[in-house]
Structure formats: structure tokens, C-alpha cells
């Protein structure tokens, strides 16, 4: 089995070959292209270039059904089970056992029982409603569905993310069970210690490229893997940090902030001109912390104050009024009104200022947008262009322009360079530093540890909803952060 791709937007050249009966781990940071890769194997996306060979024959996987017909099953991170149906109904979803339109329930139950037994979960009843099951058991149902087809390859996207350590052990047991039957498993994770436990070979992705293909788990030291995962293909240029004035006042003060189920006891403060970076894995609570500071989620504990004034919990309006701005993680779904023109998006947070008595002053809104377009070198330089037509970097500039126009004291930037190409990144880094130099207190969240280290004055390492350490950016390097994070996540 060989698959290779090239030239897809999110992927720029990935080679991957999978042998029967092996556990092939795919390792990479967030945004490395793991998800895109598996979506192509599952028939959700199609490669622009390159080819997929299956059992020696070149194939095209047009849609998810085609993948299943070939014998490729995929278990997504967000489990695709239907809560309202029973275990057996979920297992045979889409290929129900029926005769003359009537479902054969006892046959389905019997075959489900066999599949569950094969997975070492004979105790699960086929008649249980899936909604009442734990995440771990839902995963088993999802796997049973995969096995109900005649599959040769099963792709698991971060299956351990929702499991506790006992359940992970059980999962590994099931994986071994599958491989002993000759089924290949593609196992996606960013937990190195899991790879050590069950992986046979590793492919490392970084920036949409395969950095190493089919490394043997036993013969590759962890240090090498970290280097491959983080080793950059392009050098990002970080502008020098301007020293913070000794008498710079504390602008943002977060005290004992908590959100049940996401994070707890988060305390830190940011001074005017300071950039604080949150480093941690996906799911560590980074974005939730930012969104709670902003009031987009209602904190269950603690306070946020801006320049001495405590913000009302759960109120974005209050935060914005106090001079807090957020550039959200998902630019398209949370940041922009995509069909609306640039100038509308730029003035979205300060619309009232471009209106007299409720009536819009389109001319001043456009001219302010034009100023920002010029200052930030936003392209295309047309305030009437719909935001959807812009590249990621330029869309990010719209969000920064929005807060520049509004005027902020605190800027919360969640993944400011996701989906932004290298050239535009440098510009955005420079812009962030400039905003800091102008006296903003800035909090940056990024999956790219290098970015956090390059931008921030102070780094907070976050894992499992807690701040592990607070260190000056100059006193820690990428490996140090990863070490902390991996240990924190394993604990």
C-alpha cells in the first residue's frame, strides 16, 4: 500500500506508505496537515496532485463510500455516532441489514455482538442507546462499525484525546487485536509516549510536508522526532522586542480565572507593552482561556480586570467597552462576516463611531478602512471587496485593523498566523510588536511554539487547563516547552 500526494493547498508533498498489519503513526503539530491527509484517504477531500496506490493499483477515492468499498475506514476525532440510535443500529448505519425493507434486528444484534467480542467488549449490549455510553465506548462502537465492513486499513484520528489512561490501555489492546488480523492502523497523535507504546513506524508531518517517512519507532530517538516536528522549513523573522518600560502599568489582570470543564485557577497579569504567550497543545484550554477573558464564555471562577476595573463576567460588550479586543481562533467562522466587504468588517466593532444618530456615514467608514488597508498593506486594496475573497494573511489583517480602528488596551490574539503564508506572517509579527510598543497589553495563543517564543516577552506553558510555568521567553526554548507540555499532558 502506498499513498503519495503533492500540491494540495494544505499539503505540499506528502509521501506515506502503509504495510498490512502495522501501526503507522502520523505525528505532527496542529496545522501540520494531519487532518487533511486523512480526509483525502477517507474520500472527503481529493488530492490536487499525486496519486494513491491501493494494493499496488492506482485508485481515486471520490467519496467516503468509495473509501469504504476499498476497505479504508476512518474514525474521526469527533466521533460520528448517532446518539439516539442503539449500538447495533449505529454499527450497521448506512448498510442496515434488511429484508424487503424490514430491518433484521436480531441478525444485526447477533453480528454486533460478534464484532464487539472481537474488540474485547462483549459486555456492551447491542441494544444500549449510544448516547448513554462513555466516550471510550462510543469509540468502540465506531470501531465496530469500521469492522462491520471488510476493511484492511483503519485510520484513527487522535483516538486517545478523549480517553483516560485505563481506557487508553484498552484501546491499545484493541489496536493490537486488529493488527494481528492483518489490518493496518494509521494512528494519529501528538503524544510521543503513545507512539513508543504501540507504533511500528512513524511519518512526521510539518507544514504540509512529510519530514520523514516510515521511520522505525524502535530506532528513532525522541529528540529526533521533536526536531522533525518542530524543525522549520522556513525561517520566520521575528522583530526585536522593545524593552518594556520599568514603570509600565499592569493593564490586564487575570486572577484565579476558571471555567468548569476547561481550565482552572488561571492567574497572570500583562503590563502595557508586554506580549504574553500561551504555549500548549490543542485541548489544553488555551483558546478557552482567551475567550473567557474576553467574556465570550462565562467564567465560573475568578476575575478579569482591565486597568483596575473588574469586567462583568460573560459580557463581550463590557470587555470591548473596556478596550479589550479578540482576534479569534477560527477567523472565518468567528471573526469575519465573509460576504460583507472589507470596510464593513474593519468597522464592525466601532460601527457607532461611523454613524450619526444611527445613520451610517459610509464615506468615513470607507476612508478609515482605506487608511488601514494602506498602513497594513492589505491586499487587494479595495475596501469594497468581500472578505471571503482575501487570503488568510489579509483576513487576519482585517481583524487587526478592526481593533486598531476601535482602539484597544488589551489585545487577545488566538492563532494569529494560522493559514497565513510566510511573507504575510512576518508582517503580522511586526504589526503585533508595533501594537505592543504603542502600549497594548497583548496575549498570544499559538500552536506553533516557535511563534510564541519569538513573539512573547513572557511565556505561560499550559497543559490540561492549568498554567504549568511562567517564564521569560529568553529562558526557555522549544524543546523545553515541548518537554513540559508532553509531561504535563501525560500526567
Amino acid at each position: 500500500m502506498t499513498k503519495s500526494f503533492a500540491g494540495v493547498r494544505a499539503l505540499k508533498g506528502v509521501d506515506l506508505d502503509i504495510l498490512p498489519g502495522e501501526v503507522h503513526c502520523i505525528l505532527g503539530q496542529n496545522g501540520a496537515g494531519k487532518s487533511t491527509l486523512i480526509k483525502m484517504l477517507a474520500g472527503v477531500h481529493r488530492p490536487d496532485d499525486g496519486e494513491i496506490a491501493w494494493l499496488g493499483e492506482p485508485v481515486e477515492i471520490h467519496d467516503p463510500q468509495a473509501a469504504i468499498d476499498l476497505g479504508i475506514a476512518t474514525m474521526y476525532q469527533e466521533l460520528d455516532v448517532v446518539d439516539g440510535l442503539t449500538v447495533a443500529e449505529n454499527v450497521f448505519l448506512g448498510h442496515e441489514l434488511a429484508r424487503g425493507g424490514f430491518s433484521r434486528r436480531s441478525e444485526a444484534a447477533k453480528r454486533t455482538r460478534e464484532l464487539l467480542a472481537r474488540l474485547g467488549h462483549a459486555r456492551l449490549s447491542p441494544h444500549t442507546e449510544v448516547g448513554s455510553l462513555s466516550a471510550a465506548n462510543k469509540q468502540i462502537v465506531s470501531m465496530a462499525r469500521a469492522l462491520s465492513h471488510d476493511i484492511k486499513l483503519i485510520i484513527m484520528d487522535e483516538p486517545s484525546a478523549v480517553l483516560d489512561s485505563e481506557e487508553v490501555k484498552n484501546l491499545f489492546h484493541v489496536v493490537n487485536e486488529l493488527t494481528s488480523e492483518g489490518i493496518a492502523v494509521v494512528y494519529i497523535t501528538h503524544r510521543l509516549e503513545e507512539i513508543r507504546q504501540i507504533g511500528d513506524r512513524i511519518t512526521v508531518l510539518k507544514d504540509g510536508r512529510s519530514m520523514a517517512n516510515g521511520l522505525s519507532v524502535a530506532e528513532t530517538p525522541t529528540a529526533d522526532l521533536i526536531r522533525l516536528m518542530t524543525g522549520r522549513t522556513v525561517e520566520n523573522v521575528f522583530p526585536p522586542a522593545t524593552p518594556i518600560a520599568a514603570d509600565a502599568p499592569t493593564v490586564l489582570d487575570v486572577d484565579g480565572l476558571g471555567l468548569t470543564g476547561a481550565f482552572e485557577d488561571v492567574s497572570f497579569s500583562v503590563r502595557a507593552g508586554e506580549v504574553v504567550g500561551l504555549a500548549g497543545l490543542v485541548g489544553s484550554g488555551r483558546s478557552e482561556i482567551l475567550e473567557t477573558i474576553y467574556g465570550a464564555r462565562r467564567a465560573t471562577a475568578g476575575t478579569v480586570s482591565v486597568a483596575g476595573t473588574t469586567l462583568r463576567r460573560g459580557s463581550v460588550v463590557a470587555a470591548v467597552a473596556a478596550g479589550v479586543g479578540l482576534s479569534p481562533e477560527e477567523r472565518k467562522s468567528q471573526g469575519l462576516v465573509l460576504d460583507e466587504p472589507i470596510y464593513v468588517n474593519v468597522t464592525l466593532a466601532s460601527m457607532a463611531r461611523f454613524a450619526k444618530g444611527g445613520f451610517l456615514d459610509e464615506r468615513s467608514a470607507r476612508s478609515v478602512a482605506r487608511e488601514q488597508i494602506e498602513a497594513l498593506e492589505l491586499r487587494p486594496a479595495d475596501p469594497d471587496r468581500a472578505a471571503v475573497t482575501l487570503s488568510g494573511g489579509n483576513q487576519q489583517k482585517i481583524l487587526l485593523a478592526r481593533w486598531l480602528v476601535h482602539g484597544t488596551r488589551v489585545l487577545l490574539l488566538d492563532e494569529p498566523t494560522r493559514g497565513v503564508d510566510v511573507g504575510a506572517r512576518t508582517e503580522i509579527y511586526a504589526l503585533i510588536r508595533r501594537l505592543a510598543a504603542e502600549g497594548n497589553a497583548i496575549v498570544v495563543v499559538s500552536s506553533e511554539i516557535e511563534e510564541v517564543l519569538g513573539l512573547a516577552d513572557t511565556v505561560l506553558v499550559v497543559a490540561d487547563g492549568r498554567i504549568l510555568t511562567t517564564v521569560p521567553a529568553t529562558e526557555i526554548d522549544e524543546h523545553g516547552v515541548l518537554d513540559l507540555v508532553m509531561k504535563g499532558a501525560a500526567a
Binding site: G335, V337, A355
Partner: protein, 353 residues
């Protein structure tokens, strides 16, 4: 990593990060820009309207093209038209209001109850108007508060109001028709101004007011922004909940205005006024090019949608076709309009990426 994959939006939503920063696009001629925008879609509606008028003129040459018939069409369009303007705002913001017809019935009762009419007699008939508008506004506010702060989906909240408002109207009216005593009220709403009925003037005023509100005010801009991306609007500091309340209040207010108009036309309040008007209004709004998912729509389109249905009805009446045939034709038009809309939406998405 929870990116949702929807094949349709894929093309437009993911500009190529490596090249588009430097992409130089061919300059779009102003004419093409106009045609591909909302003006272009409205042009299609104008053509459809012209086509119906031509058919009317051919099939009923003596009666259809008279001035008085044209005024009849406008008069018949006016009440649904006013409701449709309010509905346009709600739908652009991504909501729906099923209660407008019932609220209109309730408002017509509130304005014609014995108590109200007594007050009107002692003071001025304007009291009846105020009662109708206040009733509509209050019902709309309740809708908005339940939807925004109770987190009830708009469909269910306004469905509940549809049922409850109708019931309340029946209780208040004791299932009787409440005749209006004030001659002045009836006379006012049946007069002409410059040869055109007051009802048509009211529709025109509401339409122009709606256009200004949607296109020239922060309220309108926020409405479009919320419909286009609710979460982004919220995160930009727009008070989405409060805005939602005002949107439904606006729809309720237009239902109140429509109640006054129907009182003027029928000279009596009954709990059955406005039945199924919500569906006619939604149909007109959607045919007028407003997307049911929100984020895009025009008042001009809505007005054209209303006129298309009114003219069509008139053509059918002139040709002595039954209302059942009209209903079938309406259904077909709605589907064709929505199919065309989806076509446009797809092309729009593609050409913009």
C-alpha cells in the same frame, strides 16, 4: 481540530494561502458588478413582474391595464407588503417570525374593543391606531425576549405566539366581529392622496423607511452582520441578544401597522384577520431574493416579490381562474425562485474566490 467540511462552501471559504496575496484579478466592469450583485437579482424580479403584466394585458386587455386595476393590485399588495418589510429584517438576521398574521389579528381586536373605541370616541381615533401598534410591538418584544434571552429557536417561539395570539384575540373578541364606530377612522383610511389610496401610501412609506433602516443605519448593518455571521458579530462586541429583541419588535410593529390597514379596509376587527399572512410574507421575502439562512436580502426585492404575487393573483382573477389554481401557481413560483436563488448563490460564491 474541528474544521467542518461542507463541500459547497469549500471553494469560497479557502482562498489559496500561498498565492492569493499576490493575485491580480481582472478588473470587473461596473455593469457586470451591478448584474452579479443584488441589483442584478432584482432585475430578474422586474423582468418576471413585467412578464406577468404582459400576460395580464394580453389575456384581459380591457380590464387589466386600467389605472383603477393597477391601484387595486397595489392596494391588495399593501397589507402583505408592510408585514413583508418587517419579515425581511428578521429573515436577513437569520430568524423567522411565524406569528405576524396572528399578531395582526390580535392587534385588530385590541384596537376595536369596546374600551378602546370608547376612549377613541372621547379623545381621537388615533387611540385605536396606538393600541394596534402597541399590541404588535408588545407581541414582537415577547417573541424577541423569548428567542434572545430564553434561547428558544425562533421557529418554535413564534409558532407558540401564532397559536396564543390567535387564541387571545378570540377570547377578547368573544368570537364576534367588532365593528368600528368611528366614521373618521374609516374615512381617513379610505381616502385618496394625489389619486392614490392611503393604504398604498402607507406601504410606500414603510418600504422606504425599511430601505433606509436596512441600508443607511447601524441597525441595518448589524442586522446583516448578525445574519452573515452571528458569532463573529458577537465577538466584535455587537449586543446580538438585544438586537434580536428589536428585530422581532420591528416585525411585531409592522404587524400592528398591517392591523390598522386591514381595519381601514374592512371597517371591523375580527380574530381571523391576518390568517396565513405569515406564509405569504415569507414567500414574498424569499422570492424577493432574501436568503433564508440570513446575511443577504433587500427591501427592493421584497417589494418586488410582494408585487409579483399580487399581480399574479389579479391576472388569475381577471381570467376567472379559481383561487385553487392560484395557489398551485404560487407554489410553483416559490420553488422556481428558490432554485434560481441557489443557482445564483453558487455562482456568486464561485466567482468571488
Amino acid at each position: 481540530m474541528s474544521e467542518q467540511i461542507t463541500p459547497g462552501s469549500e471553494v469560497a471559504a479557502e482562498p489559496n494561502p500561498t498565492t492569493s496575496a499576490t493575485t491580480v484579478e481582472a478588473p470587473v466592469s461596473p455593469v457586470r458588478r451591478l448584474l452579479s450583485g443584488s441589483a442584478g437579482r432584482n432585475l430578474g424580479l422586474v423582468l418576471a413582474l413585467v412578464l406577468i403584466v404582459v400576460v395580464g394585458a394580453i389575456t384581459a386587455p380591457d380590464t387589466f391595464t386600467t389605472t383603477s386595476n393597477m391601484l387595486t393590485i397595489l392596494r391588495q399588495a399593501s397589507i402583505i407588503g408592510v408585514i413583508s418589510v418587517g419579515m425581511t429584517f428578521v429573515i436577513i438576521a437569520g430568524g423567522i417570525d411565524l406569528s405576524v398574521g396572528s399578531v395582526m389579528g390580535l392587534a385588530s381586536i385590541a384596537a376595536t374593543l369596546a374600551v378602546t373605541q370608547d376612549l377613541a370616541e372621547n379623545f381621537h381615533w388615533i387611540v385605536m391606531v396606538v393600541f394596534a401598534l402597541a399590541t404588535g410591538l408588545a407581541a414582537g418584544l415577547i417573541n424577541g425576549i423569548v428567542i434572545a434571552y430564553g434561547n428558544v429557536v425562533a421557529f418554535m417561539a413564534t409558532l407558540a405566539m401564532l397559536v396564543a395570539a390567535r387564541g387571545l384575540a378570540e377570547i377578547l373578541a368573544e368570537r364576534r366581529t367588532l365593528t368600528i364606530g368611528s366614521r373618521d377612522f374609516i374615512n381617513f383610511f379610505n381616502e385618496d392622496f394625489l389619486g392614490v389610496d392611503i393604504l398604498i401610501w402607507i406601504f410606500a412609506l414603510v418600504a422606504v423607511g425599511g430601505w433606509v433602516l436596512l441600508n443607511r443605519t447601524t441597525f441595518g448593518r448589524r442586522t446583516v452582520a448578525i445574519g452573515g455571521n452571528r458569532e463573529a458579530s458577537r465577538l466584535a462586541g455587537i449586543n446580538v441578544k438585544r438586537h434580536t429583541v428589536w428585530l422581532y419588535a420591528l416585525a411585531g410593529l409592522t404587524a400592528g401597522i398591517a392591523a390598522v390597514m386591514i381595519l381601514g379596509r374592512t371597517t371591523a376587527g375580527t380574530s381571523t384577520h391576518g390568517q396565513l399572512y405569515e406564509l405569504d410574507a415569507i414567500a414574498a421575502v424569499v422570492v424577493g431574493g432574501t436568503l433564508l439562512v440570513g446575511g443577504r436580502g433587500t427591501i427592493t426585492g421584497t417589494v418586488l416579490g410582494v408585487l409579483i404575487f399580487a399581480t399574479l393573483t389579479n391576472v388569475f382573477v381577471q381570467n376567472n381562474l379559481s383561487s385553487s389554481v392560484q395557489a398551485v401557481a404560487k407554489g410553483v413560483i416559490i420553488i422556481v425562485a428558490v432554485l434560481l436563488q441557489q443557482r445564483f448563490a453558487k455562482q456568486g460564491g464561485r466567482s468571488s474566490s
